[in-house]
Amino acid sequence: MKTTTLDWRQALLMIVILGMLGITAFPIYWMLVTSTTASTDLFASPPHLLPGLSQWHVFREVFNTTDVGNWLINSAIVAVGTTVLSLLLAVLPAYALSRFRFAGIAIVGLALFVTQMLPEAMLVVPLYAIFGQLSLLNTLTGLILVNTAFTVPVITWILKGAIDGVPIDIEEAASIDGCSRIGTVFIVVIPLIAPTLAATAVIAFFHGWNEYVFAQTLVSAPELHTASVGLAGFVGELSTPLHSVMAIGLMYTLPAVFFYLLVQRYVVAGMTAGSVKG
């Protein structure tokens, strides 16, 4: 009898989970349906609920008629560059905030969040002028740098929380064995906070992948456009090619979704790291 109750509860839980999964996945599915529905059927009543098998050529067409491949590569470069640079710049400040006590530590920690306190739209004009002086306009390097400025504070604080959770005894043991402080960080601490590193990598990657305002303003050369800018270009003053927008939108969304699915368990682990100390 008890087993039956458990089975019933599990079945109910499964239904709830599947329902939530359906709600979450539906927008992506609907993008697929819209992009593969013939123009004449777009406004059919009742609407077509399944992808049109005869319309898959739309994906080939957008590749042949737009720079979507190049946009996705640029987005990937910016996202990966932002991720790498953010992690490199955030690890040591996070370690310092976690392990050292010095005058003004609270101010330093708070100052990290200055970029988070101001909206992008406010910073974009002065940054444009500065980047112009530094010859960083129209470069992917400039985009990586500006995205990194926004991700480093968040990542630093998340990593600090994770490092707080690493027992100091382990580092002391490494020190007794002759390991330098910096060696301890890279050989002992970083492997232990690897799940959190993965989580912060996802945060940085998504920021670089999705960012629009700076990508639109700091880069005007078409060959350096990211996918977010390329996609926005389809929304015209007078018309919007729905098939192209949905097809490219799908191409733009799926890599990020798959990437997240691959590492989401580390994200969860990383986000909660340091929240419970023992």
């Binding site: 123009s39 004449t40 777009l42 406004f43 009543s45 470069i77 910016v78 990966v80 560059g81 991720t83 790498v84 640079l85 739209a121 974009v124 004009v125 002065p126 444009y128 002028a129 112009g132 010859s135 306009l137 129209n138 470069t139 992917l140 390097t141 990586i144 970083i190 492997p191 232990l192 690897a194 799940p195 590193l197 993965a198 639109q216 303003t217 005007s220 050369a221 078409p222 060959e223 350096l224 800018v229 926005a232 270009g233 389809f234 929304v235 015209g236 003053e237 007078l238 018309s239 919007t240 090619p241 729905l242 192209s244 580390y266 682990a269």
Partner: protein, 418 residues
């Protein structure tokens, strides 16, 4: 303890990411040696399917005619063009040539972000179209019309009872209701803040059509005048009719018209041109908008030269090339049911193939910019206040006169600080 990967894997991954980062840094910028003096020309129109490619070819025609100048088309998304260009201008750079919306042209001129052209483009040298007068601010001209597009009723006769367009507003309501079924809507327009600029354009058509204006010739606000209120009431009548796809954005309902799921819309000549070029089987026809007066809104997109340009002479050369009759003719043909800076007569062949062109051309004397006269650069703020009050009428059941009284009061106190 769960670890993401072994240390060697971490190192390998780090190496790979490092290589990617180095690759990113090594990606060259846009700057490379140019034999010609290169200018950039930013316009949302370059991004449009159909017209965009043709406009790029038109610019290429200029490039082929020059030995020392090259203009590079820059397609910017319509929704963020002004914001992007103004940001770049504020940073001391930006595109050399810009196709603005009229509202942004006024803002750019008042901020001295664009160059006066009076010394280079003399009105006496050209047979200019009527709307050119709207580009002269305090006696100075800062741009020339790139595109002038009127608003008219476009309709699909197959979906209208009797195949005839409505001539009065009452007929309009009846026609929209009669054409509406499970598969077809009678009429479409915008009524959401998500598309506030389009909402404003559609509201201006109704208000102007009923004889209303947002201000008078002396610069007094007339937001709560009887004629404006009549226009708002008409907007509400259409909203309550059950003949419109509520919430549909312009991209959607224009596509519906294309797919014969919408009987009527009041739209600009650019849209009609796109339908004509890309949906040749669509039985498109046009008629004057069915309001008490012929006045309707006007899309006027000027071409201006950025004050930051380092290529002023080259930019002026392009503008002068654009103003030549042959190039004006080509441009007008590309733009569809739109006019250009100078008067270009349609050929009999064009009119025979697309009779609705004449309906749009005949509207020109009656078209009025969708700006608040005397407060052109403040229009975005005034627009926001008015639309909020109109939404209260449409969705909240507010009494139109009271809502417009409130709009007048708020614009006076909050926007104009009177």
């Amino acid at each position: 303890m769960t670890t993401l990967m072994s240390l060697p894997s971490l190192r390998a991954g780090a190496r790979a990411l490092g290589v990617a980062a180095v690759f990113a840094v090594a990606v060259p910028g846009a700057a490379h040696a140019q034999a010609k003096e290169t200018l950039s020309f930013a316009a949302a129109t370059f991004a449009e399917s159909g017209r965009g490619d043709k406009l790029k070819l038109w610019v290429e025609k200029f490039n082929k005619s020059q030995s020392a100048i090259e203009v590079q088309p820059l397609a910017l998304p319509f929704s963020t063009l002004a914001k992007t260009v103004f940001t770049q201008m504020g940073g001391g750079a930006g595109p050399d040539l810009v196709r603005f919306d009229l509202i942004d042209y006024y803002a750019a001129a008042q901020a001295q972000r664009i160059l006066p052209l009076d010394a280079d483009i003399k009105a006496s040298d050209y047979k200019l179209t009527e709307p050119n007068k709207y580009l002269v601010i305090d006696g100075k001209r800062y741009g020339v019309p790139f595109e002038i597009s009127n608003y008219q009723l476009i309709y699909n006769p197959q979906l209208l009872k009797g195949g005839k367009p409505p001539a009065t507003f009452d007929e309009f309501l009846t026609a929209a209701k009669d054409a509406t079924s499970d598969q077809v809507f009678g009429f479409a327009y915008r009524a959401t803040m998500a598309e506030s600029n389009g909402f404003w354009q559609d509201l201006c058509n109704f208000v102007y059509g009923f004889g209303g204006r947002w201000s008078d010739d002396q610069g007094n606000l007339t937001i709560n005048s009887p004629k404006v209120v009549e226009g708002v009431i008409a907007y509400k009548k259409m909203y309550d009719l059950g003949a419109t796809p509520k919430g549909a954005d312009a991209a959607t309902y224009r596509r519906m018209f294309w797919e014969k799921k919408l009987a009527m819309e009041i739209d600009n000549g650019g849209v009609a041109g796109i339908f004509s070029q890309q949906a040749p089987d669509l039985p498109l026809q046009a008629a004057p908008s069915p309001f008490p007066t012929r006045a309707q809104g006007l899309i006027l997109a000027p071409l201006a030269i950025n004050s930051n340009t380092k290529h002023k002479e080259a930019a002026v050369t392009f503008v002068k090339w654009m103003m030549q009759p042959e190039n004006q003719k080509d441009l007008q043909a590309i733009l569809g049911a739109a006019n250009v800076a100078t008067v270009i007569e349609r050929t009999p062949e064009e009119l025979a193939a697309r009779p609705w062109l004449k309906v749009y051309d005949d509207q020109s004397p009656h078209s009025v910019p969708q700006l608040v006269k005397g407060f052109e650069a403040r229009t975005p703020e005034i627009q926001q206040v008015i639309l909020e009050q109109v939404l209260r009428v449409l969705q909240g059941g507010a009494e139109p006169q009271k809502a417009m009284d409130q709009a007048q009061r708020l614009v006076s106190t909050r926007v104009l600080r009177k």
